[in-house]
């Protein structure tokens, strides 16, 4: 899951590239989109960091748990 997040982020950030010029949505909307993706990523990272930290403080190997996710 932790490894997947940046891939998801990359995909979302690169999405505006696909939009062609005809569906010109305006600067403000693009701006809102980019910052929206940003906020979502930050929140996901925050939740993940919490989870990884609690699992890392367990005696079990965090690597193993990560592999199963």
């Amino acid at each position: 899951m932790a490894r997947l997040l940046p891939v998801l982020g990359l995909f979302l950030f690169m999405l505006p590239l696909l939009g062609d010029d005809e569906t010109e949505s305006g600067m403000a909307v693009q701006l809102a989109y980019v910052f929206g993706v940003w906020v979502v990523l930050i929140i996901c990272a925050l939740l993940l960091a919490r989870r990884l930290q609690t699992s890392a403080s367990n005696p079990e190997d965090p690597m193993a748990e990560d592999g199963s996710q």
């Binding site: 932790a2 490894r3 997040l5 940046p6 891939v7 982020g9 990359l10 950030f13 690169m14 505006p16 590239l17 305006g26 600067m27 403000a28 693009q30 701006l31 980019v34 910052f35 940003w38 906020v39 990523l41 930050i42 929140i43 996901c44 990272a45 925050l46 993940l48 960091a49 990884l52 930290q53 890392a56 690597m63 990560d66």
Partner: protein, 896 residues
């Protein structure tokens, strides 16, 4: 209207504040109370050196020119931080286990501790960072010029240059003061990090304040603002998808490979878990930094007169609206961004330059090698200070040469591209075991050359480095080699063109050369450790047993780590080996550990070379290579179990052997004791008997002769009594039922009296005594008579046994933690290693010189006295003479 002088004063106060912050953080850290100094938030804020003046001022200008594209500079780092589990976690772990000091150190260490690679990366970093430092100087001077212009006194170019010079000098002072204070074993700079964190807060607050003012004060709230954005010329900017992808990639590469980012991300990292916090907090920080960039650009374009520099909108908008306080805050924000970048970058560069260029040259230049040369720490620190000065001078020169002509953003991106050339070697190094030293060197050189050819040199403009003809038609008219359209690829943005070709050719060179050769044994060992850092964090051995004298190693380590740290390290090692004293067996494991400690100060390649000078050639054993090769898990486990057992066994064996040796030694001593004591008692007895017989038998003695003989008898009797007193004293002390007579005293007085009593101050003794009387002024509460007895004994010994032509005795007293440590060091031949263990035993006179007098009880008594006083006395090897250390716990030192 804010006065220019007021602004300078504000700026000055701010700098003083930063000095204070750094100073108190440093002092707190020295006292060992790290606490919040090392919290994850401070770590996150320190990462903000990514946001330089270029992002602070330049992002707005960038947005005014190219619209939304500016966010790519932040998207790259966001993705890398969010994906910390992939690369950053590994980098930080490697940085910790291998004691990495810089990105050049990481690359050199990974590829078999090759110094060649270290030098290449260092040069690359210096060339890539210098323009960037120039950029920071330029942004501060430009912003100052804005204020001066507002006051009606536009600054001339000379005045601007003078400002830049002052700024560079001030930054050099700060960096030298807090960046090279000491050679920390881990290269951490608490004061600097704290100051950077404060600056991070200032610049965020400044930018948010300007942004809020623009949106709600000028733009008319959120809805008004979005209206204005839609009608702004920015909205019409063509969306360039090539640049979008390319710049995102570039900024992602930059956050890993920029020297200053590596410094704060990996080297200054105190705890791996801080990375988890930074993974969301740093993206949040940079998102806030870029939140108001577009509104500021839009308002600037519509409100400011045409032709105003969009790079300075952050400053000029509040100024033109009469918001002087806000403008001053914005100025401080830009100032913070510039200074924090310059400070961290020059620390990172100076570490690289001193470890990879100065130290190797110096080591080669010192023919005697690391053991005999002077204090290495001074050389390293000196080299760092000089490099900081040199780096800033280079930046200043670059600034004054280019004259601040280019738009801010373009220099920044050129810099990024240059430094990103490290990326293939770096990622290849930590994920691919087949990567070789030659491959890394080839990739770096190719990438560097392509970058210089397609981007860096053309950036000076046609006619400067390249002629216009060469730019348009290629060298010698070969159009395939035109710098800005290599191999006939035309129509690409010049920057993206350069990023694409340099990275592609770099990676190909790296892969092809790596695949066409085999890594050497050292490279394989290091490669396996880096790639599999999470599986086995223990280091493989690269040293053969034996050969090295622990004392030589201690001498060298003391010169790099400092006496206290080195002694503590050696002491821990001997304790782990189950031995006593300062000199451990030079097992491969110990050498490995020592090398890593040294690497924390001078870099892996240099540390390896220094130990190599003492130990001889490093050898990689078959077992080490086996551990690297992929055997079955079972074999590994089996060998690990065996290793653990054999280690346990060898430790026990060492202990047994040592105990046995001591027992044998003791039994020989017991025998010797009896014969000694009879001998010692008999000699005076014989003369007493002989002379008393003479007195009895011979009648015709003159008065003179009679008194002479009785004086002899008396003296011999006294000697006998003294011997018996000593023996009695010793047995009382040994049984521990001695009554101590505790008094107040002062260490200096005690030493004064001891020196007088032992007679070393007499002319005939001819001994020079070196003391630091100020440091000795320590009040004591202990049995001062007994303590003085110990001092007298040590001083007398030095007088008797020091065989130097010009004997010297150095007395060195200081408080160390909870102990008072007093060293007595002479410049004689010292005590041979095999005798060091027994000198504190009874009757262990090392030479049979009867001239020395005494029965060999002195040091034994000293030891017992110190034990009874709650302290200790020990022999300190590796000081260039006989050296004894007296340690007294400070509960005996009076509170002052």
């Amino acid at each position: 209207m804010i006065r220019f002088n007021v602004l300078v004063a504000v700026c000055f106060c701010y700098v003083v504040l930063l000095f204070l912050v750094a100073f108190f953080a440093e002092r707190r850290a020295n006292k060992g109370r790290l606490g919040w100094l090392r919290s994850p938030m401070v770590y996150t804020l320190s990462l903000s050196v990514y946001c330089t003046a270029w992002t602070f001022y330049g992002a707005v200008g960038y947005a005014a020119r190219s619209g939304l594209e500016f966010v790519t500079i932040y998207i790259g780092p966001t993705l890398i931080l969010v994906g910390w589990w992939w690369a950053l976690r590994k980098l930080v772990r490697i940085g910790k286990t291998q004691r990495i000091t810089s990105i050049a150190d990481l690359i050199s260490s990974r590829y078999g501790k090759s110094n060649l690679l270290g030098v290449i990366v260092t040069l690359l970093a210096v060339v890539g960072t210098t323009p960037y430092i120039a950029l920071q100087l330029q942004s501060v001077t430009l912003s100052l010029a804005v204020f001066a212009g507002e006051n009606g006194h536009p600054l001339t170019q000379t005045e601007l240059n003078a400002n830049a010079l002052w700024l560079a000098a001030g930054l050099a002072v700060f960096t030298v003061l807090f960046g090279t204070r000491n050679l920390d074993a881990n290269e951490r700079h608490h004061g600097v990090v704290m100051a950077i964190a404060v600056e991070a807060v200032v610049k965020l607050v400044a930018l948010l304040a300007v942004g809020m003012f623009v949106v709600w004060g000028v733009g008319g709230g959120l809805s008004g603002m979005s209206e204005r954005i839609a009608h702004s010329p920015i909205a019409d900017v063509q969306f360039n998808s090539g640049r979008w992808v390319g710049l995102t990639f570039l900024s992602a590469a930059a956050i890993i490979s920029l020297p200053r980012m590596f410094q704060v991300l990996v080297v200054e990292n105190a705890d791996e878990r801080h990375l988890a916090t930074a993974s969301w907090a740093f993206p949040l920080y940079i998102m806030l930094m870029s939140l108001f960039v577009v509104p500021i650009a839009v308002i600037g374009l519509s409100e400011m007169p045409t032709g105003a520099n969009p790079d300075l909108f952050v400053l000029t908008i509040p100024l033109s609206m009469g918001q002087d306080g806000l403008a001053a805050l914005a100025f401080l924000g830009g100032f913070s961004s510039a200074t924090s970048m310059v400070i961290v970058a020059s620390i990172a560069l100076s570490t690289m330059v001193s470890n990879h260029i100065v130290m190797p040259v110096w080591l080669r230049w010192q023919e005697d090698g690391a053991t005999v040369s002077g204090d290495v720490r001074k050389v390293v620190l000196g080299a760092r200070r000089v490099s900081i000065g040199a780096v800033l001078t280079l930046g200043y020169l670059y600034y004054s040469l280019t004259g601040g002509t280019e738009a801010l953003a373009s220099i920044g991106l050129i810099s990024f591209t240059g430094v990103a050339q490290v990326l293939p070697a770096l990622l290849g190094g930590i994920f691919w075991r087949g990567a070789t030293r030659r491959g890394a060197a080839a990739g770096l050189l190719v990438g560097f050359a392509v970058w210089a050819y397609t981007l860096f040199l053309p950036s000076f403009g046609a006619g400067a480095a390249f002629s216009a003809d060469l730019l348009n038609n290629g060298p010698f008219g070969i159009s395939l080699l035109r710098p800005q359209s290599l191999f006939g690829v035309t129509g690409m943005d010049p920057l993206i063109h350069a990023v694409f070709w340099s990275m592609v050719l770099n990676t190909f060179a790296f892969l092809i050369v790596s695949l066409s050769g085999f890594p050497g044994p050292m490279e394989r060992l290091q490669g396996a450790q880096f790639v599999n850092v999470f599986e086995h964090s223990t280091a493989a051995h690269g040293w053969a047993q034996g050969g090295a004298e622990a004392e030589d190693l201690l001498m060298m380590a003391q010169r790099i780590l400092g006496a206290d740290e080195a002694q503590a390290l050696f002491l821990r090692a001997t304790t782990d080996q189950g031995k006593a004293g300062y000199l451990p067996d030079t097992t491969p494991k110990f050498l490995e550990r020592l090398e890593r400690e040294l690497a924390g100060s001078v870099g892996a390649a240099t540390a390896h070379a220094m130990i190599g000078q003492i130990v001889g050639r490093s050898s990689v054993s078959v077992e080490d290579l086996m551990a690297v090769a992929d055997e079955t898990q079972q074999m590994l486990e089996y060998s690990m179990r065996l290793e653990a057992q054999s280690e346990e066994l060898s430790r026990t064996a060492r202990q047994l052997q040592e105990a046995n040796e001591k027992l044998t030694e003791l039994s020989v001593q017991k025998d010797a004791f009896l014969s000694q004591i009879s001998h010692e008692l008999r000699t005076p007895m014989t003369s007493i008997r002989a002379f008393s017989e003479i007195l009895m038998d011979i009648e015709s003695l003159t008065q003179e002769e009679q008194s002479k003989y009785s004086v002899i008898i008396h003296e011999e009797a006294i000697r006998l009594t003294r011997l018996l007193d000593d023996l009695l004293d010793l047995s009382v002390l040994e049984r521990g039922n001695v009554s101590l007579d505790t008094q107040d005293g002062n260490l200096r007085d005690l030493l004064d009296r001891a020196l007088t009593a032992s007679g070393v101050l007499d002319e005939e003794a001819g001994m020079r005594v070196l003391r630091d009387k100020a440091a000795e002024n320590i009040p004591l509460r202990t049995d001062t008579d007994r303590l003085r007895q110990v001092f007298i004994n040590l001083i007398t010994n030095a007088r008797k046994y020091c065989d130097a032509a010009k004997p010297e005795l150095k007395i060195n007293a200081r408080l160390r933690g909870k102990e008072l440590v007093i060293d007595f060091i002479d410049n004689g031949a010292g005590i041979p290693k095999k005798s060091q263990a027994i000198i504190f035993e009874k009757f262990s006179r090392l030479s049979d010189q009867s001239s020395a007098g005494g029965a060999g009880l002195g040091l034994a008594i000293c030891r017992e006295i110190m034990v009874n006083l709650g302290g200790a006395i020990s022999y300190l090897p590796g000081q260039g003479g006989a050296a004894f250390r007296v340690v007294l716990p400070t509960r005996f030192v009076q509170a002052t």
